[in-house]
């Protein structure tokens, strides 16, 4: 029998069961730690996700560029005001500039009642 065969035929010593228990305990402990950290990570992510979405939406609203080609709301409101109530009456009536208005003359010498605009002098 050559030396290699003799070596192979010899039975190597076995590690003790104590080592098996130690290794298994270490692996189980590591597994529990890994599971715990995964759960914590998931909880934190779940809690932070709505906040993150809200922050993104807020940032998008703040940083949104003004839209071109859209009429500003102020003139539309003005048109609504113009078309209602006393403004509507004014719109339906002839313009004030086309109606004869009483003339007011002011004299520095003596107060004077203005002439009737309907009568010829």
């Amino acid at each position: 029998m050559n030396i290699e065969d003799r070596l192979r035929s010899a039975r190597p010593a076995e590690p003790s069961e104590e080592l098996d228990r130690r290794i298994e305990g270490t692996l189980c402990g590591a597994g529990a730690t890994a599971l715990k950290s995964r759960l914590v990570r998931r909880v934190v992510l779940t809690a932070l996700a709505p906040l993150g979405v809200a922050a993104i939406v807020a940032a998008a609203l703040i940083l949104r560029p003004p839209r071109a080609g859209t009429p500003a709301p102020a003139p539309a409101a003005a048109r609504q005001l113009d078309a209602s109530g006393m403004f509507q009456q004014m719109l339906l009536s002839p313009p004030a500039s086309r109606r004869p208005m009483p003339r007011l003359e002011v004299s520095l010498l003596a107060p004077r009642i203005p002439d009737d605009p309907g009568k010829s002098p």
Partner: protein, 159 residues
């Protein structure tokens, strides 16, 4: 800690506990120190996020480093513990004792190459990766170690 690493190490230990122990004890020459080295190596490996795709040489190297650290740290009492010798020594146990004695006569490099090749079932390529040396160096250690053992065994037999 990565659950994949944990699963890999659990599976590896189940399949290689004997080889890891033979290797560690060939370095420490002490049963308790060898087991401490394996345990310490696994603790360190568990701190890693990943393991190499071919993790066998890597884990053996980790055990080697832990065993050498133990040797440097502690003054370890040397015992013939590599091969299983029972309380009732039979012919097979006598053979084991002879081989054990002869194994102590070769250099540590030669002994490591022989233990890893024969009891660890590792290839020369893997042993070279563990030791960080070229493959021909490992092959040379192995052949020279066997030759020394053969000579020593012949000398023992002729006595």
């Amino acid at each position: 800690m990565n659950e994949k690493v944990i699963a890999t190490l659990r599976s590896f230990y189940a399949g290689h506990r004997q080889q890891l122990y033979s290797y560690a004890v060939s370095i420490t020459r002490n049963r308790e120190s060898a087991e401490d080295a394996i345990h310490q190596a696994f603790e360190q490996l568990l701190r890693r996020d990943t393991l190499p795709a071919d993790s066998r040489p890597y884990i053996f190297r980790s055990v080697r480093n832990a065993a050498l650290d133990g040797l440097r740290r502690d003054r370890i009492r040397s015992d013939p513990v590599l091969l299983g010798a029972g309380a009732d020594p039979s012919a097979a146990d006598h053979l084991a004792q002879d081989i054990e004695e002869v194994l102590q006569e070769i250099t540590p490099d030669e002994r490591e190459a022989i233990i890893l090749k024969i009891y660890g079932s590792l290839t020369f390529q893997e042993i070279a990766a563990i030791r960080g040396v070229p493959l021909p160096t490992v092959a040379s250690w192995y052949r020279r170690g066997l030759e020394r053992m053969r000579t020593a065994m012949a000398r023992e037999t002729s006595r």
